[in-house]
């Protein structure tokens, strides 16, 4: 009814004529072109987030359909705040995020610097370095699980042959070592992705800046801290934000390697959410935990933006 009313008015008719006749103002054209993208995001990003928010205020248990969908206010959040296992998994996720993002950044920057200095074969090396990133994390997790296997794993075998160890190390059966093993796999997987973004940033730095730095007598280290790092700031921010958000949502790699074990030593927050939602079928509580994860992720992204965004 409303739409028809608009069409019947003179303004509505004129607008339609202009759209059909291609006589749009720049702003209208922009809005029209953005519409598909906006609809896509609304359907696949905004709606799920609000749906999760709505579900988080209800009880929804698939294994007890007779309970229905009653509104419980903030009770699920109260339960999460009192849940020691939830806090434990948040702690695991934060440690995992700090360790893996720092390691991925360091290694990624090193790879980027090396590739940037290469004269020949740069394209080939760049493509090859990206291979780990192209492997599905669950597949990579299975692969690393075998590499770290205590009985038949390659890593134990190599260490034994090198005379480093006399006994088999039970990598995935001890809390600290399992955490270490998962972070190694995560670093291996994403360092190259980090390198690619940083390399793009490095290639945008004009060679003249380095020449003038060396004319001024700056050491290579000084040139790195005074020229490279400041000009790389945007690339660093993008890579850190992307990898941090990825690490906060880490599910697939720990799921495939340790399933959160031993005990719950490597149970990330995303794994904990998965377990509550799909193993225990407690969708209301799962939604609550997901909302908390969104808040944590936003806090991280906001902090990065504040600290690293260009101030000029």
């Amino acid at each position: 009814m409303a739409a028809r009313a608009v069409v019947r008015t003179g303004a509505g008719r004129r607008a339609i004529r202009r759209i059909l006749g291609g006589q749009l103002t720049e702003g209208e054209l922009a809005a029209l072109l953005l519409l598909p993208c906006f609809l896509f995001l609304a359907t696949f990003a905004v709606y799920p987030i609000f749906n999760a928010l709505w579900t988080s205020l209800h009880t929804l248990r698939l294994d007890q359909p007779h309970v229905g969908f009653p509104f419980v206010g903030l009770r699920n959040f109260g339960r999460a705040f009192g849940d020691a296992n939830a806090w434990h998994s948040i702690g695991v996720t934060l440690r995992y995020t700090v360790v893996t993002v720092a390691a991925q950044f360091t290694l990624g920057l090193a790879i980027a610097l090396v590739i940037n200095k290469m004269v020949r074969g740069r394209g080939l090396v760049r493509a090859a370095a990206l291979l780990p990133w192209t492997m599905a994390p669950v597949l990579a997790g299975q692969m690393w699980r075998w590499l770290f296997n205590d009985q038949a794993g390659v890593i134990n075998d190599l260490m034994h042959r090198a005379g480093l160890t006399s006994q088999q190390i039970i990598w995935l059966g001890s809390p600290a070592l399992a955490f270490f093993a998962v972070t190694v796999a995560a670093t291996w997987g994403a360092a190259s992705y980090m390198a690619l973004i940083l390399l793009a940033g490095l290639q945008g730095i004009p060679e003249e800046l380095y020449e003038s730095a060396s004319l001024d007598g700056a050491s290579p280290f000084r040139a790195f801290t005074a020229v490279t790092l400041p000009l790389l700031r945007n690339a660093i921010m993008v890579s850190l934000v992307l990898r941090t958000l990825g690490a906060l949502q880490a599910l697939d790699l720990p799921f495939a390697m340790t399933a959160g074990g031993p005990g719950n030593a490597t149970e990330t927050f995303a794994l904990f959410i998965y377990k509550n939602t799909f193993e225990f079928l407690d969708f209301g509580y799962g939604a609550t935990l997901s909302v908390m994860l969104v808040v944590i992720a936003l806090a991280f992204a906001g902090t990065y933006y504040k600290v690293l965004a260009s101030r000029d």
Binding site: D150, G263, K275, L281
Partner: protein
């Protein structure tokens, strides 16, 4: 022109004639199942499905074998049924799932076909596990329990008796391993990964001590001292007596079967399915494996009731045809083939009396002795979460993350809060 019209009419006529025929197109039934034990098991399942197709013209069975542990299988079913997926008709389910799956509305009731007289042909305990709120939702397919497997050859060589207490098992393990001087040989293996079988082994020791997770009234009694004693025994196998390697904490069910089959252990706790694998061609322990009930605690020997059922999905579009396939798989012919070839324990009374089974499977009396007294796991609709709490804390203690006292305290506290006590 006329000719063309005639041709069109002819085509339409033929088309109409074909329609009723296509309505009787073969009914395809999709069966999702694990095949723990590998190709021997999967091959038999496919052969049975082919036999069903031959006996029931117009029926096709799509056997979808799934990898992994029963916990992973459960997660797959949840994903499938939460989305009301209609692509699966018949599913095999673990004995601990019916309560939760029925509450969620995922299983079709079978009462109209699986009537009282038919139910009487099956072991009563197994039928009871599939009966929820007065309706029956699954047909017992094979039953199961935790057993003690031992190396007959090694025990005979060293003049050792089959252990009947845990102390005897520890002493015998140490004696044989020391005397054999084989660095690849160790004493005892159980399922130490964070999976359902880890919780089951803990329950078995606990029940053997006269303890339990919940008492008759459903109150948590895990922290009355017997829970701690049971956990300490599990840890002692590894730390004090060193008959179990510390790497046990990474081994799920079939990995322990493979390790024992490779000749690396004197004793193993595992389910009944392992026996057929041990006796199969190419096995290093063929003809050398004995079966006994699990060793006693202060209150006797105890084992977990396991076993698998066949059920029909509530979302299936071919429920009647699905039932016929379930009926066939749980029937006399299929259960007999499975008993003879896979050493699974049948759920039909008549198979135990079958002359050929008695002749070809002389280990059945031993297996039956162990299986018939099996106990069900704590009976609550919250079992999946309860089991997860037990598994996580046991595993944390087994891997040294927390001391055993704390593991039991946490387990009890978390189960109490789960059950609202």
């Amino acid at each position: 022109m006329k000719l063309r019209l005639l041709a069109i009419v002819a085509v339409i006529a033929v088309g109409l004639a074909v329609v009723p025929a296509s309505a009787q197109a073969p009914v395809t039934i999709t069966w999702n199942t694990l095949a723990t034990g590998g190709p021997i098991v999967a091959d038999l399942y496919r052969a049975l499905a082919a036999q069903f197709e031959r006996q029931n013209p117009g029926h096709k069975v799509n056997v979808a074998i799934q990898p992994g542990t029963s916990g992973e299988q459960y997660a797959r079913y949840v994903t499938l049924f939460a989305a009301k997926d209609t692509s699966v008709d018949v599913i095999s389910i673990d004995v601990i799932w019916p309560a939760t799956m029925v509450a969620a509305g995922w299983l079709a009731p079978l009462d109209q076909w699986f009537v009282r007289e038919r139910r009487a042909e099956y072991l009563p305990g197994a039928v009871a596990a599939n009966t929820i709120g007065g309706k029956v939702y699954g047909v017992p397919w094979y039953t199961d329990a935790g057993l003690l497997y031992y190396r007959k050859d090694l025990l005979e060589k060293h003049g050792a008796k089959v252990p009947t207490t845990w102390d005897e098992l520890i002493a015998t393990s140490q004696r044989i391993v020391t005397a054999e001087r084989d660095p690849a040989l160790a004493g005892f293996l159980f399922q130490g990964a964070r999976i359902e079988a880890l919780a089951c082994f803990f329950f078995e020791i606990l029940w053997g001590n006269g303890g339990d997770v919940l008492d008759r009234a459903g109150k948590v009694t895990l922290d009355d001292g017997k829970g701690l004693a049971a956990l300490n025994l599990m840890l002692d196998f590894v730390r004090r007596h060193r008959i179990t390697p510390a790497g046990v904490s990474t081994l799920p069910t079939d990995d322990t079967r493979v390790a024992f089959q490779d000749g690396r252990y004197v004793f193993l706790r595992n389910w009944t399915y392992a026996y057929a694998m041990f006796q199969s061609e190419g096995s290093k322990v063929a003809g050398k494996v004995g079966i006994a009930p699990l060793p006693r605690g202060s209150a006797g020997s105890a084992t977990t009731l396991g076993g698998w059922q066949l059920a029909v999905s509530a979302f299936s579009r071919n429920k009647e045809a699905s039932w016929r396939f379930v009926e066939f798989l749980t029937g006399r012919v299929s259960q007999k083939s499975m008993a003879l070839q896979l050493s699974t324990v049948p759920t039909r009374n008549d198979i135990f009396e079958d002359e050929q089974v008695k002749r070809q499977a002389p280990h059945y009396p031993d297996m039956l002795k162990a299986v018939l007294g099996a106990r069900p796991r704590p009976q609550t609709a919250e079992y999946p979460r309860l089991s997860s709490i037990v598994q996580t804390n046991l595993h944390a203690a087994l891997t040294g993350l927390i001391p055993p006292e704390e593991a039991i305290t946490r387990m009890s506290r978390e189960i109490r809060s789960l059950l609202g006590q």
